[in-house]
Symmetry: C2
Subunit: 194 residues, 2 copies
DNA sequence: GTAAAATGTTAATCTAGTTCAACATCATTT
DNA sequence: AAATGATGTTGAACTAGATTAACATTTTAC
């Protein structure tokens, strides 16, 4: 449950020499947040990218009417951040809040820039990670336009069973872009259908 | 109107030596597509990333009912591709079709992999390009959830005036996720409001 | 310059999903 | 074990936007 977990994960994607591992160890920190704590708050500059060792977070946006809109959930072995805020070091549009006690590996903006210079293959690594995230985001847009709420829920349930089990239903409704009452109705329909 | 346009654009982001420019020239090709031609077809593997020198494309998905859903428009100085298909060299989910006669710079998968090795700072360049695209995609998800169709149209009009002028209204409706009839109604409301 | 095709408009009817309100269940704290 | 807060359910009334269909306008091709 320490930085080794993170290095093991990284070594699945890029081969790190011992020196490179040492450089990384020097520039990343492990941090624990409690349930409900914020990693990033809307309006603040997002200072780090965060790799989740254990726990679960939600990334959401609070609209003008005070309504919460969940953009993504993140669990073990995934990255979370407000990337727009982080990359341009400007105030963030999103909040990232822990839904469970959460252990992270954090890399600050300055440290990541240094690491990119010291270990250029990290550029390649993050290029691939962001490509994957972008592709998932595009597919989500399409699903939101071409499928009704029940289909979207069925896909969510099937694609992210681990999230579906851990996260309260009203948050899943927000992620799907529907009201909690309507998700409740969908779930009871799905039960009656079988 | 040739590869120089592309190299000038690239030099805004990363400094290329003469040798690097020569490597690039050797691995990219310029190609012209006519209006209505497809650069990528749903089901085919997307073989290249495409930088638009002139023209306009739409990226869309054809659903089970034969309905077209536009994910993005691309114009001069932007990239277009089915990134999911390209990066994993698997069949694409999307079509990319020219809305106007379009001149592109194309880089094939193999050539881009070679170029990444020859010019590692290209990794950095594409990391940044994809980061930007991902951030825009996330913001779009939020807008689709938190704003009604009229607000979304107003933002579109304001953010992409050059696209709004060039592209038929029924395609903009598809991009916004609404019917063409409803967009027509929205536009007449906006005219009456002033 | 005319026909055909593509694009845009208007209005009536319909529906997926919202909102509100009241209640039910579950979890946590004392 | 009672009380409080968080989560989930149900139903009635409502609305943003879809669908259909008929017509209007603009563009393209011959």
């Amino acid at each position: 449950m320490d930085i080794s977990t993170f290095l093991t994960y990284l070594n699945n994607y890029i081969d790190l020499t011992d020196e490179e591992e040492a450089l990384l160890r020097a520039k990343v920190v492990r941090r624990t947040y409690l349930k409900n704590q914020y990693i990033v708050q809307q309006g603040d500059v997002c200072t780090s990218v965060n790799f989740i060792i254990s726990g679960c977070t939600k990334t959401f946006f609070m609209d003008a009417e005070g309504q919460e809109h969940i953009v993504m959930f993140s669990i073990e072995e995934w990255w979370t951040s407000d990337l727009g805020s982080f990359t341009s070091q400007t105030p963030s549009d999103f909040n990232v809040q822990c839904i469970e006690n959460t252990q992270l590996i954090q890399i600050t903006y300055q440290n990541l820039e240094t690491l990119y210079r010291q270990i250029p293959k990290l550029e390649r690594f993050f290029r691939k990670i962001v490509e994957r995230a972008f592709v998932a985001s595009q597919k989500r847009i399409i699903r939101n336009f071409s499928l009704d709420a029940k289909e979207r829920y069925k896909i969510f349930e099937h694609t992210y069973p681990r999230i579906n089990q851990r996260v309260p239903q009203y948050m899943i409704a927000s992620y799907l872009g529907i009201s909690k009452e309507f998700l409740s109705k969908i779930k009871s329909q799905l039960i009656n259908e079988q």
